[in-house]
Amino acid sequence: MDFDLTDEQKQLREEVRRFADNEIRPIASEHDREESYPYEVVEKAAEMGLIAPHVPVEYGGVGYSAIENAIIIEELFAVDPGIGLCISGAGFGAEAIMEFGTEEQKEEVLPAVTSGESLLGSAISEPQAGSDVTSIATRAEKDGDEWVLNGSKMWITNGTVGDYFVVLCETDPEIEDRYSGYSQILVEADRDGFEAEKITGKMGVRASDTAEVYLDDVRVPEENLVGQRGMGFLQLMQFFDETRTAIAAQGVGIAKGATERALEYAQEREQFDRPISDFQAIKHKLAEMRTNTEAARWLTYCSAWSVDADPDRATALASMAKEFASRIAVEAADEAVQIHGGAGYVDDHDVERLYRDAKITQIYEGTTEIQKNIIARELLGDGIGV
């Protein structure tokens, strides 16, 4: 057993860290306050190859596995989760096209996304359908050689900035099987009837664009169906192991970023004529933060490894990593603010931002509660279902 990263992975980590320090750190607070999308830095990230690096080389990506993705996400989120999400989420939905898309779809969408020319989004949630994905009400009906989509989608990342969306909709309501009858359809944002309204006032990850998307008789050619008709939900389920591992990596990054900031501040801040890092109460906090981050990181790497190497274990490991790392992120950000004291309660120090950003990792891509259900289900051998 070997716990060392390869030379390539180490070099990747170092260069992504340099990118995040130089390009993201100086502008993070501004985009957080203004809730503005950082187009420029996303473009620079695309030049470096950071957008959808798991896309195969022939479609403009690097063909990276879940482990390299985790390394990249960790470094970006350690500096700023908001902009980190803009970069790591600029290709949301790419995996559906990679795995199930037609050759034409791959050639049209994937190189455009990896080059930063187009932004992609994945539209699943609805006002009434969050964790309960199969209760979605968005319909797509066949009319001649076109699909006609109607419905509304909620919490859609890249909603107002995206160029393409992979939309989950019901195409075959007559099928009684709970998991069938849904399809994934590629929708271009410039189609008539497509509208997106930015959701403002988010607690955290405010640089990232989130929107409610309205589909009002949106017509797309039948070739825009991604994969098999009626199999959309089952197709979607296949990527949860990867996407949840990615959220775990976000948590690891936030925990790491919080620990680094707390460590630095504790050594600078003096009270009673000595740095507060001399006090055992602070030392223990820092030790716990560091230990938890390390534990979360290796659980995340293990989950990432299992995605390729041991898919039977991947579902449970991904949920464990996601649940644990997101919890550790929230705890570490909380302790980082505590160590900063009053200074951490205002936005002069960016632990305040991390504190707000951390929470979302326990909510999106399956809440903590859903992850625990999955872990228990795998443990008890109940099979599919939540």
Binding site: E8, Q11, E15, F19, E47, M48, G49, L50, V57
Partner: protein, 262 residues
Amino acid sequence: MKVLVTVKEVAEVGDDFAIEGTEIAESDLEYDLNEWDDYAIEAGVRLAEDGIADEVVALTIGPERSEETIRMALAKGADRAVRVWDDAIADSFLDVDTKVDLLEAVVDEEEPDLVLTGVQAADDAFGATGVALAERIGFEHAAVVNDLELDADAGVANVRRELEGGVEELTEVDVPAVLTVQTGLNEPRYASLRGIRQAQRKEIATKDLADVGLSPDDVEGALTVTSMYEPESESDAEIIEGDADEAAGRLAEVLREKGVEA
């Protein structure tokens, strides 16, 4: 045209470090690519991208650890690398003359048309290696170059040099030449993810003293470090921050404190 870029892995220290004898404690050192060399690599890679250079070779003198640094040059686009090291080198303090001995041997073998070096290294900061190498190998040279246009057909490098006192010199240098590169010559890129992947498969040829035709006696430098200490600061510098109003206010306050009256 073949371009040789010399790169160095430099040691960096934070605010707190310990001195052990005539050295800074190894545990307080971090290693990174010399900043000036980053600009030299970028210049070399751009010459290749513009179709002027056929091959860009990175050259370093350093222990195995420095392969991490030189691999960054490969990830940014250098085609291959040469690393010179020997236990005998590790035992002595490398002065400029000794470095030039080692570099000269590789230049003789590689026969580049253009050698790019950083103006200086961030650690020992001699700022002499590039020009000393030019003298030794009989190349033209220009130091502190902050703009470069290469006319390959005419065999001339049009360069702008940054001199003291804000003076800049525009000059022509006949190729083959050594140019020592100042920061600001270009904007060094980040290594792309694809570049990082490709770099793992690029060649780093290692050479010891025998390979470059030198003996341990040749690398016994004329310089030895006799002591290492942290100079005591005699006064503090204050950097005034804030907008113009605040900064002017604070400046007036300081001047008044120091006894300057209107």
